[in-house]
Structures are given as C-alpha cells and as structure tokens.
C-alpha cells in the first residue's frame, strides 16, 4: 500500500499512525456512512467503560457527529 493511501486510511479511521496500547475511548473517531457509525457505536459499547465519552464523525455524511456517553451497564439488561 502506498504511503499516500496508508495516510488516508489511517486518518480516515481516526487512528494514530503509531501503536496504541488501549482501545481509543474518550476521543474522536472518523467514520464513513451509517453502517460504519453503527459498527463503531457497538464497538464503543463493548469496549469503553462507564464515564467515557467518545465522538464519531461521519465524514461521508457532511461531518455529522454522534457523541456516545457510556453509563453504567444494567446487570439485568443483558446488554
């Protein structure tokens, strides 16, 4: 993959070029399209703890933003 394409891919996903040691909660992610946003919300719900606030920017839909605020999981919710 060329440097240019790698840069676009990495930046488009909102990931840092260097390695990260933990799942990137409490920050900003770039997505492309509704399916991507939904998948990211699911990832955030699985991986980010209560109290975290993560922002998703849909670059393919006018830069619309979704702020995901994680609360405390209801032990009876199954979610």
């Amino acid at each position: 993959m060329s440097k240019k394409k790698m840069k676009k891919l990495i930046l488009s996903l909102g990931l840092f070029a260097l390695s990260i040691s933990a799942f990137p909660c409490d920050t900003e992610w770039n997505a492309c399209g509704a399916d991507d946003v939904v998948a990211m919300i699911e990832d955030i719900q699985l991986n980010c703890g209560a109290g975290t606030v993560t922002t998703i920017i849909d670059l393919c839909d006018g830069g619309h933003e979704y702020i995901v605020e994680m609360g405390i999981t209801d032990p009876n919710s199954g979610g």
Partner: protein, 368 residues
C-alpha cells in the same frame, strides 16, 4: 489582487434596539496554499489547534502524532513538523482531544485527564480522582469549540482549568474550575442557557446514550469566561471574581438566531430515524466559537445548509461585547469554510474546498 470592501453596517446591541453606523474595512486575500504532504497531515480533515502568536498557530498532526507549527508570512506559509508525542512512558500522552501552551510547553486534555508538562514526567490529572463533593459521580470534560478545537482554558499562573463537566450518569452539565494543586473541583455559580435542554437529541440505550453536539463553546479571557452555544445566538459572560453573569442575544438581519427545535424522541427509534433528526439539526444554522482578534471578539455563523448552502457570516464585538458589525463573508468569497483561528489582527480561514489532501488551501481576513 485583494478583495476589499467597506461596509456601512447597522448594529443593534443587546436587548435594546438602537442603531449606529460604523464602517468596517475588511480584506479577504486570494486563495492561498500551504504544502502539507511532507507532514503527512491531510487538509480535508478537522484540525485540533491552538493559537501561538501573531504569525503562527499550532495544529495536531494525527499522522505523525506531533504538534506542528503553521507559520504564515505575507501570502505564504509553511508547516514545521514537531517532535512525535509518545503514547507511553513518563511523558506519554494517551489521548489528545485538545492542547494549549502551558508554562512554555504544551498541556493536553482528553475527556477525563489533563496532562500537564512536568520536570521529566507528565503530570496526569484524572478528574475523577479529584475531590468533587459539589458534583459527585462519573465526570467527563465536555467537548467545546468544535469548529477549531482551540482552547485557552488552563491558567498556568493559578494552576487551574475551567471546563464544562458532564456527569455522565445524571447528564448534568456544570461549569467548573479545577484546582490542579489541591485536586479539587468547584462548581461556578453559572446557569447554562435555558434553551440547552430543548436542543439535546438523546437516544438512550441500555448502557449508553447517543447525543448530538450540543455542548456549549467556552473561552477564558483573563477574569472572564465567555460561553456561547452552537444552536443559538446567546452569549454569556461570567465574571470569575464576582460570580456575576451577563447574557446577551445579539440581533441580526442576516441569519436565524436559533436552530429549529428538534423533534422530541419519546420512544425507541432506529439509528436511521435518529440520524435524520440529529442530521437535520446539525445542518441548521450553526454558531461557531467566540474568538479574540486584536482587541475585539468575533465568531463565524454558518447559515442553514439546505436553504442557502451554508453561507458564512461573521459578527464582530468590541471588548465590552457590544456588537460592532456583521457581514456576509460568503458574498465576498464563497469558498470560506467554518474553520477559523485568529492570527494577531487577522483571521486564518480554511477553504471549504480542499481538492488535494496534500495542499492546505486557506484565506486570510484582515480587519482594519
């Protein structure tokens, strides 16, 4: 060739209707460009940035994970790449949402940690380890100033920081001061706009809430906190020493003063339905963060995307927050975007169209 216009502008201040005329000499440069390719950054992405001086500003380079300096000289500019910022180790910064100069170095902020530069080791201040008897619960630093992510909220002299804190469980939003030495959080005697709750588009799930970007904008200027909102023209000035708040709603002849209220969500809805409601709200009139230029204050307003294609306006205030003028910038230059940062007496504005991700196109607005 520069485009130069002199306007005789009507200005209306506060809740009184009074008129005054004041000429505003405003100059917009031709489209300028800075090569970004070598830095690895991409021009079409949002910048996290910080003011620096009268000829430069700082941006976060997410590719190389560095703080780069954008240097402007006349009608040219260049980017100097900073040193990589480590993730781990004594000077590791795990997440960068904002940054600003602090004691001649850089402090970083994410949603729950403030990273202050220290001797040989970064001081990581986790806000949920602070004493916060006035505001208990799981706290998060609310995102502010989304259009340029410029903050000036850390006071290095007092070793304090001013933020809107969100209690993630109760969803209360409070203007707070953090004392970095005492590790204490105090709430300020400030009430957010009564309109705020009406503009929250909340989709509450089992363990997560999804909302729209309704958080207020915030800047610290000496002994004042200036609060504004992306959804309404209201500006609140909070005087730190006295605890007094002054609220103004500057009138305009050019744009809507408030976004349309979103449709309330009363029951479970699909993501498609939610994104339609939130998207329509986000595409409505948008008020950018208040910034300082010279001795005055200003902000950009983006009109409704659907009706006008998102015309860009600017309103200018004196240092007493009396409105001096407003202008339709798009009538002069259609290619202005909503990213703006003051550089001394001028304003750097990112071009709306960025045809090549390795070239940053921009304009400079001069106010005489």
């Amino acid at each position: 060739m520069k485009l130069k216009y002199s306007f005789l502008l009507l200005f209306i201040a506060c809740s009184e209707v009074r008129t005054s005329e004041q000429a505003l000499d405003l100059t917009i440069s031709p489209k300028l460009e800075i090569k970004m390719g070598e830095s690895g950054n991409a021009s079409h992405l949002d910048f996290v940035s910080s003011t620096l001086n009268d000829s430069s500003f700082l941006i976060l380079n997410k590719f190389s994970r560095s703080i780069d300096t954008v240097k402007l000289s006349g009608n040219s500019g260049k980017i100097s790449i900073g040193s990589p910022i480590p993730f781990e180790g004594p000077n590791g910064i795990e997440i960068i949402n904002y940054f600003q100069e602090y004691n001649d170095e850089i402090a970083f902020v994410d949603n729950n940690t403030i990273y202050l530069p220290g001797l040989g080791e970064v001081d990581r201040l986790k806000i949920n380890s602070f004493n916060s008897s006035q505001f208990e619960g799981l706290l998060s630093i609310a995102n502010v100033n989304s259009q340029n992510k410029v903050i000036s909220l850390l006071n290095e002299k007092d070793k304090t920081g001013y933020f809107f804190l969100l209690n993630v469980l109760s969803r209360n939003l409070k203007l707070s001061v953090l004392d970095f030495n005492k590790k204490e959080i105090d709430l300020l005697d400030f009430e957010v706009s009564e309109k705020l709750d009406d503009h929250i588009i909340l989709n509450q799930g089992k363990n997560a809430a999804i909302t729209n970007p309704y958080y207020p904008n915030l800047i610290l200027k000496e002994d004042k906190l200036i609060v504004s909102y992306p959804f309404v023209n209201q500006i609140q000035i909070y005087f730190i020493k006295t605890g007094e708040t002054v609220s103004i709603s500057p009138e305009t002849n050019l744009y809507k003063v408030e976004k349309d209220l979103p449709q309330p969500i009363l029951s479970e809805i699909s993501f498609k339905e939610y994104s339609k409601i939130s998207g329509d709200w986000q595409d409505d009139v948008l008020f950018g963060p208040i910034m300082e230029v010279g001795t005055n204050y200003f902000r950009f307003i983006r009109g409704e995307l659907e009706v006008e294609g998102g015309l860009i306006y600017m309103e200018l205030f004196n240092n007493q927050f009396e409105k001096i003028s407003e202008v339709n910038l798009s009538a002069i230059q259609q290619d202005l975007g909503m990213y703006y940062i003051p550089i001394g007496n001028r304003i750097f504005v990112k071009a709306k169209s960025q045809s090549n991700e390795d070239i940053l196109n921009y304009y400079m607005i001069s106010l005489d």
